[in-house]
């Protein structure tokens, strides 16, 4: 197959290539083993059920959990919704339709799949505290503790942030929650499969993760639901045939679940060596780009971050035009210029990153197939594009003249 321009894929935090070994494991479950796992009285059903239980075991191994504690869903968005809304409604202090139904703690740098369910709960009579991170982007245990109330039901803090890759104080927050008899949910979409998880050691009650971020197929994910100390119950959001312990009705996506299980197994097997490889590549980006140009900053805590994500701001250039200059590299921009809002990333703003820096950030995220040659190419292409744009940037000139950009009376429009 002819490949005229080879694209460098550095957007693995958005999604990953499905591993061919995963695809191979899935293939029999479309046209050969096509039974409904809920069919209890013939072999078609048994084979499908067996396949799902193997995947449940593979997923449980990844989290150091029990297979019965794994609920398969359509992805991390559904898992987050089920965990947050399901727990809030199950443990509400007063019935639906009333106010003061209970308190939830989360934070402003969560994914929308956590923020929006929390906002819905506010409309349904719950109170939610949205913590703000420090300038290093970390949500600390101390901040959670200060927000705790007598009526706090649930704390939801992501393990690693999807935009900047910083790691929140997860085992400590879990321990705090357990000491206070509060449920702890973590969105581990950028963590599970990349970093070690032990739900006992890490004191987690509910954990969401996704298949397509860990080289599995899209449309499938998991929710870990603790079964003892404490036994966590959730109010289902999808009612029907009672699949997945009644928490998620609907005929199981057998092929997808098989692929997800295989993806979990492969990630678990590659563990330490893959982490070390990605870390070396990310550190190369984090050091080479600021060394090549002035006014370049790595956003968030310098060390407390997952190996595969970095977020770098290039002062005085705008993100979308920067992306235009590196058109053979696929990555994400912190700029939301193509959307109607014209607002820079809410996560970067939450970190206190200045407007001119938040508008010019790139999220570069690495994966299983990222090579050192691709990282080197990205460094030189980004450097070239930033220099091209700075040559026409009025902000760069003003900064060079020593003028404080924040003191200028800009004419907003």
């Amino acid at each position: 197959m002819a490949a005229p321009t080879k694209l460098t894929y550095l957007d693995n935090a958005a999604t990953t290539r499905c591993d061919p070994r995963v695809v191979e494991a899935m293939l029999p479950y479309f046209s050969d083993v096509y039974g409904n796992a809920g069919s209890r009285n013939h072999r078609f059903g048994w084979e499908a059920e067996d396949a799902i239980e193997i995947a449940r075991e593979q997923a449980a191994v990844l989290l150091t959990a029990q297979p019965k504690e794994i609920i398969f869903t359509s992805g991390a968005t559904e898992s987050n919704n089920l965990a947050i809304r399901g727990a809030a409604n199950m443990y509400a202090k007063s019935p639906a339709g009333s106010s003061s139904r209970g308190h939830i703690i989360t934070n402003i740098i969560e994914h929308k799949a956590v923020l929006d369910p929390c906002n819905r709960l506010i409309r349904e009579g719950f109170e939610v505290t949205f913590l703000e991170p420090g300038h290093d982007g970390i949500i600390t245990c101390a901040a959670v503790e200060a927000a705790m109330r007598a009526d706090t039901i649930l704390v939801s803090v992501m393990w690693a942030n999807n935009e900047i890759g910083t790691i929140n104080e997860v085992p400590a927050i879990g321990a705090l929650c357990h000491a206070r008899n509060v449920l702890f949910h973590t969105d581990a979409t950028q963590w599970a499969g990349k970093m070690p998880v032990d739900v006992e050691r890490d004191q987690i009650d509910l954990l969401s993760w996704s298949s397509h971020k860990i080289y599995g197929p899209k449309g499938v994910g998991g929710l870990y639901v603790r079964r003892r100390k404490p036994r966590v119950r959730l109010e289902a959001m999808i009612d029907g045939g009672g699949q997945e312990r009644g928490m998620r009705s609907g005929t199981q996506n057998v092929a997808g679940i098989v692929g997800f299980g295989k993806a979990c197994e492969l990630c678990f097997a590659s563990g330490d060596s893959e982490r070390a490889r990605l870390l070396a590549l990310r550190k190369k980006l984090d050091t080479a780009l600021p060394a090549a140009m002035e006014a370049v900053q790595v956003n968030g805590h310098p060390d407390r971050r997952v190996p595969h994500i970095t977020n770098i701001s290039f002062g005085f250039v705008e993100g979308e035009s920067l992306m235009m200059g590196i058109s053979d590299i696929a990555c994400s921009s912190g700029s939301a210029c193509t959307s109607a809002s014209l607002e820079p990333s809410y996560v970067l703003k939450g970190l206190g990153v200045g407007d001119e820096m938040a508008h010019s950030s790139l999220r570069l995220s690495l994966g299983r197939w990222t090579t050192e040659a691709e990282v080197d190419h990205a460094i030189s292409a980004i450097t070239k594009a930033v220099n091209h744009l700075r040559a026409m940037s009025p902000l760069y000139d003003l900064w060079k003249e020593g003028i404080d950009l924040s003191k200028i009376d800009w004419q907003s429009h």
Partner: protein, 143 residues
Amino acid sequence: MAYSEKVNDHYNNPRNVGSFGTSSDVKARLDVGVGIVGAPECGDVMQLQIKVSQDGRIEEAKFKCFGCGSAIASSSLATEWIRGRTVDQALEIKNTQIVEELALPPVKIHCSVLAEDSIRAAIADWKKKNGITDTVAATTTHA
């Protein structure tokens, strides 16, 4: 988003990038008008400088732009269009003409508005420096 060929061309080969000196230099020059419009928080800032002859003709135009590809192309195009025109002729340029020329999609119309504003602002600055008052109001003025 896929850009038009013209936007890509202006991005890769911007016309008339530059300035007639530092911000304090140009402030002192009566033959130069400066317009700076937009704001960093909105993701685009355009700076247009015009060098105007005594009879009111734009001899040279230079731009600098912090913004997306459409913003860069809009300001680059503006410098091409105003060169050689009198200031009054330059004020006739409408953002819709820029939208049409560059085939800007609806979400990028504000880039063309900004380019029109930068022309008006630069001319207003030049007129103010030279004590010229007229009936055409500038939508934006900037020191």
